[in-house]
Amino acid sequence: MGNTGILKAGHTRIRKNDKKSFAFVAKRTLKGMKRHWQLYLLILAPMVYIIIFKYIPMYGAQIAFRDFSIVKGFAASDFVGLKHFEMFFNSPNFWLLIKNTLGISLYSLAIGFPAPIILALALNEVKNTKFKKTMQMVTFAPFFISTVVMVSMIIMFLSPRLGFVDYIVRALGFESINFMGVPEYFKSIFVWSNIWQGIGYGAVIYMAALAGINPELYEAAKVDGASRFQKMRHVDIPGIAPAAIILLILGVGQMMNVGFEKIYLMQNPLNVSTSEVISTYVYKVGLLGANFSFSAAVDLFNSLINLILLITVNYVAQKISDSSLW
């Protein structure tokens, strides 16, 4: 209580005399910090963590411009400028990697963005809460399956020997297909299995947004004689648009980060021509091949594109609607 009194007094003094009040505010701030020293003690360990495991690697990203040697460390290795970047841009893999990465992420976005919205809109039409809850529970469940198990399920189901998918293919009179070995199928298998696993999780946010729509809007729509579909079109969809835009921004901002862990597990020598993406390449060349600087350069290039995309999309979203990340 007394605290707020001082605060107000401080503000009026700022207006009266700027020079004097600056010293006053600074003094008061220091006093506040001293009084709440325990809060600074609390954040000590987390901040040390952030610095060591997030900011030191950022500092270490400079090895992309150096020939990294373990003995010399991040900052003392020989500076080579853009050598590694040029090497990457000129390598025959460059366009293949870009094509695969963008292809997979655009496909993912095109299907993965609307799918949970459709599920949420459909769930919102159900008035029976028990059915709604059960539906939500079932669709959410695959979220808990680990990437390793998910990929092995995909491989087993699609295998010509064990999988039920192949039984169906054969039952329909077609030749048995080794799905995982056909490069053209890789993207679809990746994207649709992601939908299977993530649609329930994705729908939760939209369900929350739908629950937050003002009930008066539905009543007004009822009075106007709107059909279910019209209500969906004119009340539900505008209601979830802000959330959808935020998620779209995030999605585009993550465009170059396709699900690395899953793609890496799904790769095999037969499908590598469509499944090799930037992140799997970084891992293979960098850690398995010990070309630290080169793969750090590839990774940095990737991160920078992501950052630029995110900022651009956010800017555009801000211009054409009110929703944005910051």
């Binding site: 495991f53 270490g60 990203a61 695959p142 399956i145 390793v148 929350a208 004689g225 850690l287």
Partner: protein, 299 residues
């Protein structure tokens, strides 16, 4: 005139609703069938699995797959390791997350915007795989249990969730009153905030625990010794790389001879690895939903 319109509208509505339920049946079938197929296969005989006789229910009910798993020391070791990493990992996660989320939730905390920016920037941009690996390496924790606990000690996304929760549920007046009574910040956090935050702690524990249990990539890059491997790495070796080498499976020769048993083993293994998480899930589902919703409020 009005009446016919109303009727026509309701017919359209009914059709629309039927369409929605057809959609649900389709979605349910697609999501549930693979799960049932795995469960049923795991309880069938190896013969039935290989010859494709399992469709919906177990054929020639048998527990052979499970018997092999529970008598396999490598798999059991992986299980124990995963329990270890999950338990201690989550403990570290919770302490770290609350320690930074609580101060950030206080409007009087000087420097909160700056610290928030430092945190959020790590979501937007990262040093990348190689520099992170080299940092972990230079700390000397490569191929130790610490490599599974420390690099993932804190998730910024969870910090934002926890901070939002503290901001919206802990009344400022409570804090002011406690301060007047001479209660220190840590005391207030311990005695007042935490007891009021059981829901959010449950959310954090669940998200972090599922993350630890299901993670394989940190183990893949940081660990070399098989005795440190978590379950997911063992699973990867058996399920995806299809390598049932002498190192991971003791009775490898017998297994190689029994190709069918090897296939059956995969189904049982999936069930054994996923069941702990799926079993607790229905009880804690509301917390998960709550967590995603708090997280979706702009941080």
């Amino acid at each position: 005139m009005n009446r016919t319109n109303a009727i026509r509208g309701s017919v359209g509505d009914r059709l629309f609703l039927i369409l929605i339920y057809v959609f649900f049946v389709f979605v349910l079938a697609i999501i549930i069938y693979p799960l049932i197929f795995i469960l049923s296969s795991s309880f069938s005989s190896a013969q039935a699995v290989v010859s494709g006789r399992v469709w919906l229910w177990p054929v020639d009910f048998s527990l052979e797959g499970y018997r092999v798993i529970f008598s396999n020391p490598a798999i059991m070791k992986g299980y124990v390791n995963s329990i270890f990493y999950t338990t201690f990992g989550v403990m570290i996660n919770i302490v770290m997350t609350i320690a930074i989320a609580y101060p950030l939730s206080k409007s009087t905390f000087v420097g909160r915007n700056l610290i928030m920016m430092i945190l959020v920037f790590t979501i937007l941009f990262s040093g990348g795989l190689i520099p992170t690996y080299l940092t972990v390496k230079s700390l000397g924790i490569l191929n130790t249990r610490w490599a599974m606990l420390l690099p993932g000690a804190l998730a910024v996304f969870q910090v934002i969730i926890a901070r939002t929760f503290f901001q919206t549920t802990i009344p400022k007046e409570l804090n002011e009153a406690a301060e007047l009574d001479g209660c220190s910040d840590i005391e207030f956090l311990w005695r007042v905030v935490l007891p009021l935050s059981k829901a959010i702690i449950a959310v954090l524990v669940l998200f972090y625990a599922v993350g630890h249990w299901n993670a394989y990539f940190d183990a893949l890059i940081y660990l070399k010794s098989p005795e440190l491997f978590p379950l997911q790495i063992i699973l990867r070796n058996i399920l995806i790389l299809n390598s049932v080498d002498a190192g991971t499976l003791v009775d490898a020769n017998r297994l190689a001879a029994l190709q069918g048993l090897r296939d059956l083993l995969k189904f049982s293994l999936i069930v054994v690895a996923t069941l702990p998480v799926l079993c607790i899930y229905p009880f804690v589902q509301k917390y998960f939903v709550q967590g995603i919703m708090i997280g979706s409020i702009k941080g």
